[in-house]
């Protein structure tokens, strides 16, 4: 019934859109097309998130609260102080993430952008894994567990073995990928064989991984140290991801790994047969099965590869940045990676850029906290608001009065809905 309704409507709409496009001037059309692009929505979501974060920062600030007390007597004070507080906070965020023009030395000036890259490495790698899952129709919430396993495997190989320089690093990275692949593979094989919901299984595996690592860190054979602290020995130098810019910077070869992984995932998903199968089971598993794709095999492989990428992220984190396993090695990386994949719309390049953005928010948040006292937790709010808005483009368009995509004239959604239901009633009658 509803199919008939839209079918009847479509030619009329197209004709109207065509007429409109002719009537519009070139600039207006260019503006409208820009308004309909998903990139603009992403940018506006970031802007809205910064506004929401700004409101929070102001609300929690004591000086701003004080000026509110005599707001009606001298409103100028309130606005002046608010402006000062906001520019301080956000300029610290920017200086911490990109380029610190107030830093005393040249190295410190450009250090922030490299810090952003450091923070983004595990986010990009793990985000790519989650993105592969999303595009194959699987919600892999298990980035956290896969990162923990990857970090544990890579770290253990890194400080337990003694091998030549290149080989050791390669083996540690492969070990990390293997660890993540095992953890992802459990969920993948269970889903493929028994239909077990991957969301639940991966959440459970996250928690199991946390306790597993906590237990391992109490075992002397695992930690290889005599310390009573729940932490491991340091990764041998031969297994560390080497620095790219010298000792003043933390930037390490993990960033190159992230770039390579982005390219590899792009090739896998866009150019390879396997990637085509992945996308096919994501779009329509029944059709994929009819077309001769082994859904069982592809389902398991998706989560194995996704797990391997997250594991690689964990490995890069421990071999390049942390150098030592601790109970909280993964932080909230696994959950951040989900938001990275969402923000990147599950595309490799998008995920890479989203990883850089969130890495930048993290790096900037550290400086913002130390210089202006604004807690870094505000970054979580920014991240979640961005992703919430990106997930609902119609909401962002409604806030900014942007036209709807698809060539339609900017009609209010209520009117459009009324039109649609009227058309339906016609058909029904």
């Amino acid at each position: 019934m509803s199919a008939g309704g839209t079918g009847e409507n479509e030619p009329r709409d197209e004709a109207r859109a065509g007429a409109l496009a002719q009537a519009e001037g070139r600039v207006a059309r260019a503006l409208r097309e820009m308004g309909q692009s998903s990139w603009l929505v992403s940018v506006l979501a970031v802007v809205l998130a910064l506004i929401a974060g700004g409101v929070l920062i102001l609300a929690a600030n004591r000086e701003v609260q004080a000026t509110l007390g005599y707001f009606f007597a001298r409103p100028v004070d309130f606005f002046a102080v608010s402006w000062q507080v906001l520019t301080d906070a956000y300029s610290a965020l920017f200086r911490g993430a990109v380029f610190d023009w107030q830093a005393p030395s040249a190295v410190r000036t450009i250090r922030p952008i490299t810090e952003t890259m450091v923070y983004s490495v595990p986010l990009i790698l793990s985000g790519l894994g989650i993105a592969i899952g999303f595009r194959s129709g699987m919600l892999n919430i298990g980035g956290q567990g896969q990162i923990i396993l990857g970090a544990s495997f890579a770290g253990f190989i890194g400080y337990w073995m003694q091998l030549p320089v290149g080989l050791h690093l390669l083996l540690a990275l492969l070990g990390g990928a293997l660890g993540g692949a095992i953890w992802g593979g459990i969920a993948g094989v269970l889903k493929a064989r028994t239909g077990a919901n991957e969301v639940i299984v991966t959440i459970m595996l996250n928690n199991i991984a946390i306790y597993l690592l906590a237990w391992l860190l109490q075992q002397r054979w695992f930690t290889q140290t005599d310390s009573n602290q729940p932490q491991s020995a340091a990764v041998a130098e031969s297994a560390q991801l080497f620095g790219l810019l010298g000792p003043q910077f933390r930037l390490h070869a993990g960033f190159i790994l992230a770039i390579l992984a982005t390219l590899a995932v792009w090739w896998l998903m866009e150019r390879s047969t396997l990637g085509f199968e992945f996308r096919a089971i994501g779009e329509n598993p029944e059709a994929a099965r009819t077309a001769g794709i082994s859904v069982v095999k592809a389902t398991a492989l998706v989560l194995i590869i996704a797990g391997a990428l997250s594991g690689l992220g964990g490995a890069a984190h421990v071999l390049g940045t942390e150098h030592r396993l601790t109970g909280g090695i993964a932080g909230t990386l696994g959950f951040d990676a989900i938001t990275v994949a969402l923000l990147g719309r599950s595309r490799p390049l998008g995920t890479f850029l989203a990883g850089l953005l969130f890495g930048g928010l993290k790096a900037g948040g550290v400086l913002m906290q130390s210089q202006t006292g604004t807690p870094i937790d505000i970054v979580l709010v920014l991240q979640s608001v961005i992703v919430l808005l990106i997930a609902a483009p119609p909401l962002v368009r409604a806030i900014f009065f942007l036209p709807r995509p698809g060539g339609r004239p900017p009609a209010s959604s209520r009117r459009a809905r009324r039109q649609r239901s009227a058309a339906k009633k016609e058909v029904a009658a």
Partner: protein, 431 residues
């Protein structure tokens, strides 16, 4: 219509006629394996002449029970043999294709845990405080039970709620703040459901109005709540903790007579109003989900929204109202973290309990009583893990803490019977 009906009825009749129902081996084999484990490990490795002591009462009890002092080895052997006999009985019943009652798994589980405790506590110069274990188990279960009830109502009406974690945290936060500002724990009790419901409003706003994937929304809302509460905690709450984050505790209200029952009395009936509310909510849901018009509509909307719409039920309104109500329940559960235990709010104090509540709901098969027992199982294993970690046992406490999650994975992989979610959960409904 009639053909499908006959098809549905034909299946069991056919089975009965030919007797082709396969023998259900899963459970008997599991029992046999566990019985073997208890004989080979618990019984064989109990040190000779060792004794295990259980403390059955607290100091303030009306009836003081002396410490139960068991000789470890004979006790584990007896329990192991009884477990073996029960396993044999289960196998015999399975071969006969007969069902066993609910009593078997319950009895088997209790005895197995007892055998484990006798073995774990053997020859340690400590007493296993059974009342403390049980009280801890209930305390750890309370947020899980509230959370599981929230998830259950949401999913039964077709909205997947991964944001239980965030709702618990929001409830804990608002309960602490309001209780502190009004210097009354009961004020916090009224505020907590509001916080949970607000998170649910956001969830349904995006899930129903914009039809965004519900799992994604849930994950993001969790991050949002963690960010918001942590930010406010580090700024407003720490700037003036006296005003905003002072500790308030709901008083314990011992129920006369009932709270004097040995062992279970102090555990179940000397609690705060929050725990009594939990009993009431579980009981009400148990009745109303399956026996009321509201429950029927909720299940219809979650199983087959189109059919529900056809008979005039407003699908999306039902989903929104139920999910928001469920959010209020979860918020109430969050209050247990702060005013329920007399603690001030702390960053991320819900610590993943919302996800465990989700697991409890699935393990309980979307059934209030089932979810209750699953949550209690989780709480119990955590509590035993905590107590044994202090006594020092042969089994690392991390393994015990992992156990609930492993059990849940087995459950969703189809080992523990068929776990089937509501048919239309997670699918947005559009007319």
């Amino acid at each position: 219509m009639s053909t499908t009906q006959t098809a549905v009825h034909a299946e069991p009749r056919e089975e009965a006629a030919h007797g082709t129902r396969p023998i259900a081996w899963k459970f008997p084999v599991t029992y046999a394996a566990l019985a073997l484990l208890s004989l080979l490990v618990f019984a064989l490795f109990s040190p000779a002449g060792a004794r295990t002591r259980f403390q059955l009462s607290t100091g303030s009890d009306f009836i003081a029970i002396p410490v139960l002092d068991l000789p470890s080895r004979p006790a584990t052997w007896t329990l192991g043999l009884v477990l073996a006999a029960l396993a044999a009985f289960a196998i015999w019943r399975a071969v006969q294709r007969a069902r066993t009652g609910v009593w078997l798994p319950v009895l088997f589980g209790t005895l197995f845990v007892l055998a484990f405790l006798v073995w774990a506590g053997a020859d340690r110069n400590a007493v296993i405080p059974l009342v403390t274990v049980l009280t801890g188990a209930l305390a750890l279960s309370v947020p899980l039970i509230f959370g599981a009830m929230c998830g259950l109502v949401g999913e039964r009406s077709g909205i997947i709620n991964i944001a239980i974690e965030g709702q618990l945290l929001a409830g804990a936060f608002l309960a602490a703040v309001v209780a502190s500002v009004f210097t009354s724990a009961y004020a916090g009790l009224f505020a907590a459901p509001v916080a949970g419901a607000l998170v649910a409003v956001l969830l349904t706003f995006f899930a129903v109005k914009y039809q965004v994937n519900q799992i994604i929304i849930g994950v993001v809302l969790n991050v949002l709540v963690v960010g918001l509460t942590s930010f406010l905690f580090s700024t407003v709450l720490t700037q003036n903790a006296e005003l905003w984050n002072a500790r308030q505790q709901l008083p314990r209200l011992p129920i006369p007579v009932l709270s004097q029952i040995p062992v279970i009395g102090p555990v179940l009936f000397n609690q705060t109003i929050l725990v009594y509310l939990m009993y009431v909510i579980v009981a009400l849901l148990h009745v109303f989900v399956f026996k009321s018009r509201w429950g029927l509509r909720m299940r219809a909307v979650g199983e087959h929204p189109k059919a529900a719409d056809t008979v005039g039920i407003n699908v999306n309104r039902t989903r929104v109202v139920n999910t928001i109500m469920a959010g209020a329940i979860a918020g109430l559960g969050g209050a247990f973290f702060t005013i329920g235990q007399g603690l001030a709010f702390g960053k991320e104090m819900s610590a993943g309990q919302g996800f465990i509540a989700l697991a409890a709901m699935i393990l309980g098969r979307w059934n209030p009583v089932g979810a209750l027992f699953a949550a209690l199982l989780f709480g119990f294993s955590t509590s035993i893990g905590n107590v044994l970690a202090t006594i020092g046992t042969p089994v690392p406490s991390e393994v015990l803490l992992m156990l609930p999650y492993i059990i849940t994975i087995f459950a969703v992989a189809g080992f523990v019977g068929r776990v089937r979610p509501p048919a239309a959960e997670g699918v947005p409904y559009e007319k």
